[in-house]
Structure formats: structure tokens, C-alpha cells
Symmetry: C2
Subunit: 460 residues, 2 copies
Amino acid sequence: MAGAVPPHEADPGTATLAAFAAGLRWEDIPRQVRHEGKRALLNMFATALAGCREPAVDKAVAVMSPFSGAPAASLIGRGERRDAALTAFVNAMAANIHDFDDTHPPTIIHPTAPVAPALIALAETEGRSGVDLLRAMIIGAEIACRVGNAVSPGHYARGWHITATCGVFGAAGGTGVLLGLNAEQQVWALGNAAVQAAGLVEALGTMSKSIGVGNAARNGLLSALLAREGFSGPAEPLAGARGYLAVACDAPEPGRLVAGLGSDWELARNTYKPYPVGVVLNPVVDASLEIAGRPGFRADAVASVELTGHPLLRQRTDRAGVRTGRESQVSAQHAIAIVWRRGQAGLDEFSDAAVAETMNAGRPVVRFNDDPARDIASVAMTVRMRDGSEHRAEIAAARGTEGNPMSDGDLERKLVALAGHSGFTGDVAALADAVWSLDQLPDAGALARLAAPATRNPAQ
Amino acid sequence: MAGAVPPHEADPGTATLAAFAAGLRWEDIPRQVRHEGKRALLNMFATALAGCREPAVDKAVAVMSPFSGAPAASLIGRGERRDAALTAFVNAMAANIHDFDDTHPPTIIHPTAPVAPALIALAETEGRSGVDLLRAMIIGAEIACRVGNAVSPGHYARGWHITATCGVFGAAGGTGVLLGLNAEQQVWALGNAAVQAAGLVEALGTMSKSIGVGNAARNGLLSALLAREGFSGPAEPLAGARGYLAVACDAPEPGRLVAGLGSDWELARNTYKPYPVGVVLNPVVDASLEIAGRPGFRADAVASVELTGHPLLRQRTDRAGVRTGRESQVSAQHAIAIVWRRGQAGLDEFSDAAVAETMNAGRPVVRFNDDPARDIASVAMTVRMRDGSEHRAEIAAARGTEGNPMSDGDLERKLVALAGHSGFTGDVAALADAVWSLDQLPDAGALARLAAPATRNPAQ
């Protein structure tokens, strides 16, 4: 079977990846990876519900709806239906807009947002089964992350928004699986994706970012639909001399496209964020929560805070003066202050209102000690009180990192919290149940419809 | 006025380009440039009529029509209507598919295919005047070519399909002009375009190529429509440290975005192809036609051919054994043989059938002499006959190059020839008249509808 291609014999090219996608059976996917696919989907619905009423999403729906065909698929949390292409675009935007979606640590790709919405929209439109959807989603994520592996770290460092640029390959390959494309057609689907891979790091923090992620889903979907009708492309769109890898990366490693294919699963490395902050801040939030819970701890009695962590912690989060919710997601000073005021770290704690609150009430003085030997997921926090006493917390592996993953229960609680945050009027428990039993669902459209009911709240 | 920004005072950034686009009046555009805009449009209609029934276009229309909104705009030469976004996509594909469209020599961008179809579709949908369309098209081409200047020659050499990657900026900026965006909104439109700039040289010669060109038109249109509704992007999507220029080119020259803005017009450099061949072959076709017309010349009495030209002529066109119409567009041996058999060099002469004809009947033996001092537009041809006599032809500047441009009459004859080739059922003369008098047309939609009638022939 394709799943058994030995790593050292595989040709590091698109054809190998395409044959793998075309040939893989559900039985070839390890049980743990199948389950990770469900976890990724649950998390995707959570973040899409949280993001589906952001101004950028509202504007995109308003501007692009006149260019939608007949309504055939469900916009998550909006109570509206559009054609599969626009639905894929909008749901991908929503799922990624807060950067609260999943992360593939080796590449920092958010794999599910650009991939799953394309597949869910098509599955709803064409009435595919849950197991077909899940298989396609797992292979799509695999392809996106493997393309990402082959261009990392140079690609992102050069300025390409890797979730968007590599996501389109995953959406194309995953759609190809759902459509039952053969290996040759899968090469074409990936070629059609290669000419649509786009997105810039420069756009992060702006509405434009979301176009790249939405396009990855929409254009991946269309790439495979075109390939099914014989719309053909280059023989080696990825690993060729002028294939995407070489053009978009100064030192690509084509061998990583296929190394361990079918045995090492990229989705098995997937992680989920407990807090809507830059990943380097996760251990700081953990430490702040831990100290906040100690008997007798009073934030207004703190004199100063000392953080010892990887140098990236200081470089990315030493931001005492942030003024917007978005900026606050990478401010250690705000994160500590708001956690100590509210005892939690959800989306509401990184809103413009929360930032105004810590700006008025004061943020702690924080001293950063660089320790390059530390893992990025760890931190030591020392809190000096005005009375001379100290609180110390040592976080070895922050929640949501590979060493301390979110449990299934954590992910369900995240879904419930974000559905509540958005005022979701649907049945959250039924949605979660449908995800956990997706491989037994005869019609994946039922899943999409469970996530469709409108949210009550406008953007946070 | 914006048109008078002195080159050395202009900040080499998106804001300057955006302010120029937002502020430029029709009166600021030189008469020659206005006329060049019409010539470019006439040529675009010609090549779109020739390409509108290619298999890739048929497949794209079939696959993507379910994702079109209400029909509001005309597909050139197909007798069908779709929403403005899909219409822009399809017409751009058709206009460029044979690479028979216009060329901006400094960058090798085909500027009109990715830009004009977006504007024509919107003008038809929203009922804009001909002068507004022409102004927008001229500025759109200007922006596409200036972005191209700033990333040339490294960008194409790296493997980016420059017509697609830079075309989306032109389509966005041009659409912004048609929508009356202010300078800030124009920056957003260009930012929304920057995250959608894509396309690979690797895809040339395959159907996938046309996705990039179609997307440039469609996505540029949407970029500006989104910007109008406040969908915002980065402040410096082009010339910033991580802006598009730096990410997609190893040695960008941001100053070229704005040098001579309003005085040096890129469209004034535009060229048009008389023959559907690689530009380096143009002088060879000219020489072959000249010799074919001499009294007493008989192709079956030729012993051998000698070509003295720029080394690129040999490198790109010494291909005696080509087997497909597409390959034949860069084969000197086929070009000479078919011109001598048929006395002309139109699309039919570079079809699969024509290639079979010269393969069966025989192609001349050609010897190439490299002369690096020669202009790429020149060639010396010596034909040795079996009886020992010789024919010599010296082409100093091939037809269709900057030194020997196609006349207005040449372009009209090209339109008539390609409309005939495609079996266009519309009124060609009325279409040409509408282009020449576009600045007096109250409703640019009338122009679009003149090009809409179906062609009779399937793909060549």
C-alpha cells in the first residue's frame, strides 16, 4: 500500500505524495492519528465560532456574497449558507482570525483552518460520509505540513505566511481525496495549488492576513475540482528545479516531503492553544494562574516580577505599553496583569477593553532573564511582594505544548467557552458529539449544519 | 497634482503609488498613452477571441460556473454571462492563453490580460463610462509594470510568473481607480493584492498557468472591492522590510515603483506580437516571409539555412524535432518550414496539425551563428539553394518590436484575423470602432457586449 512507502526509497517528489494521497485507506491511518483529526476539527469549530463575527469576516461576507453561486453549504456560526467555495473561504478566515487555532510546531503552520473548511463545505454540498471527510482532512493536513517541512525554516523567515502558502496544497490534496482523484489527477491538483500559493507575514495583524488563509481553502478546493475534469499542470510542481519549493525557499529540503510517509504522521505533532496569546507566552500565563490561585496572594501587593525564559520570550513579549487587544496577545505585562485581575485568560482578557483596564489599573514591572538553555515552553516566575516575601512558580512545559497537551476534555471546554463567548445559539454538546463520532456519521453535512446556527454577539 | 510627483522626491512606497492612482485625472495622461491604452485593449480582444475556446477555458467555465453569482458580465466570444469575478477570471485566461497578448519588454509582463478583464467586467456590471474604464486600465497597467520593474530581473529568474504575480497589483489598482478609492483605500487594495500574488514559471505550457493569470484579474477586482468597504491591510505591502518586493525578489529596487511617475509611462513601451511565437523568433519569421515572397523562390529547392542572431535565438529556438503546436512556437526549423509552405504565420501555422505537416514534409537544416553584439530583434538569414544560389535577408528590427511597432492597422488586421480564426459571430468592425472611440462611450458595457457573441469554432 501507499502507506508503506519506505522513507529511503521514496522519490522526493509530487508524484510520491500524490500516490500516497490517492492510495491511502482509512485502515492505513493509525488510531491515534484518526483521533487527532477529530481533536483538530473540534478545536477548529471552537475558534471559528469565536471568529465568525469579526469585522473582517463580516466585510468579506458582504463584499463576496454577490459572487457566490447557489447556497449549498453552511457558514459556521452565522446562520447563512453560500456556495462551497465562498463557504470554505469564510470558515477558514473565521477559524484562523484570532490565531487561536491549532499549531504544527515544526513549521508553525495552523493546519486545520486552511484545510478542513474546504472539505467540510464539499462534504456538505456533495453528501460525503464522516469517515471520508476525516480521512481527507488527515491527508490534507499531512500534505500541508509536509510541504511546510520542506520549506522550513527559510520560507517563513523570508516573509511567507506559511499557513496560507502551504495550506492551499493541503486543501487541494484533501479535496482530491474526498473526490477520489487518482494519482495523476492529484499531481494536477497540487500543480493547480502551486500557482495559487500566496500570503505574506507582513499582513499579520491586519485584515489582509485572512484573505490568504481563506484563499488557501477556496483555491485548494477549486484546484482539485479542476483536476477532476482534466485541468492539468506541471509534472513536478513541488520538487522540480523551478517547482514551488525552490522558488519560495532558499534552501528547500524536498526529501522532507516524503520522509517517513505513512509512518510518521504530522498531525500527531499537532498542538492546541489554551489561551489566545503568542505561544511563547503560554508558560507565563500558566505561572500567573498558578500564583493567582495561592491563598493570600494579592496582585495589588506585588512589587515586581522576574521571568527567566528562552530569549524569544523577552524579544517577543516585553511590551509594557500595549494599547490594543491584538497587541496584548504578545505582551507579558498585560497578560500577567489581566490574569491576576480576572483569574482567567480567555478571548475577553485580550480585548481592547481588557487592555484599557490594565492600562488604567497598572501593569507589573517585569524583569526578563534570558536563558538560551531553556525550552521555549518553560518559564520560571518570581513575584516579589511589597512586604519582601516572594512567590515562585516553575512551569516545565506549558499547557497546550507537546509536553503537556490539551486533553480531550480541555478541548471540549474550549469549545463550550468560545461558543458561549460568541453567543452561539446552536447545540454545543451535539456538535462535540458529532465530531467525536464523525467516523460513524453517514452524512458529514450533518456536522456542518450543527455548527451553522447564528451567534448572538457581534465581534468582541 | 499627483501626476507631477518629481521622481527624486517621491517616497518609494505603496503610499506614493496609491496617491498617484487616486489623484490622477484623465487630463494628466498624455495623448499617446491614452491611445496606447486603446491599442492594448484592441489586441486583448483579439487574443481573447482566439483563446476563448481553448480546452482549459472550457474546463474552467464548466467547473467554476456553479460558483458564480448572478450573470452580470460578458464572457468574450462565448455568448455566456457570469458574475464579474468569474468573468474577469475567464477573460484574462483567454486573453493570455496563447501568449499572443501584449508584452512590456523591460519585464516581459503581459500587462493587459490580468488587468483589463477585471475592469471591463466591473464597468459592465456597474455601468461605468468608457473614459473611466480607459483611465483605470492605463493606471492598472502602469502599476503592474512598475511592480514588475521593481522586482526585475530577479523575480522572473527565480521562477515567478511575473504576468500573474504583478498583474494582481495592476488589477487591484485599476479597479480601485474605477471605484474611486481614496489613497488610503488604494493602499489597502494593494495590500489585499499582495497576499494573493502567485504564479510559477514552472506552469508555463500547462493549463495551470492560466489559473495564475485568471486569479490576478479576479483577485485584483476583489482586493479593491474589499478595500472600498474598509477591509484594511498593511501600511507598506510593497516596499516594506517584509513587503512583497523583498519577499519575492532577492534584489528588489523599490525606487523603480515611483521613478518618473506621471512622466514616464510604462504603457508607452508596450509591444504587440504579429505572430504567435516566442519573441526571439519574430525576426526569423519576418525574414522567412520576405524570402518566400521573392520571385522564383521554391522551398523544395532549399539546401540549408544559416541564421546569425543573438545567442538567445539559438538557445531558445534550435529545435528541429518539435511534435506539438505549443512546442512549435519556439522552433526556428518549424517556423521557417511552415511559413514557406503557407506564406503566413498565424495561429493555424503553430497548431498540432501544422507541426505534423512540417514533420512529414521535412524541415530545413538550420545552422545558427551566435553574435552577442546583435539586437535580439534582429537576424541575418542566408538560404542556400541546391543550385548553389543564395537568398539573403537582413531584419534590423522585427515587426512588433519597439523599433518596428505594429501600426493601428496591423492591430485591426490581427483582430480581424483572430476573430475569423475563432469563427466569431459578432461584428468585428463595430468592436474595433468601439475601442478606438472608447473615451467617448457613455457606457463601457456596450464594448463588453460587442465582444460577447459566441465563436463558432472549438479550440484550434
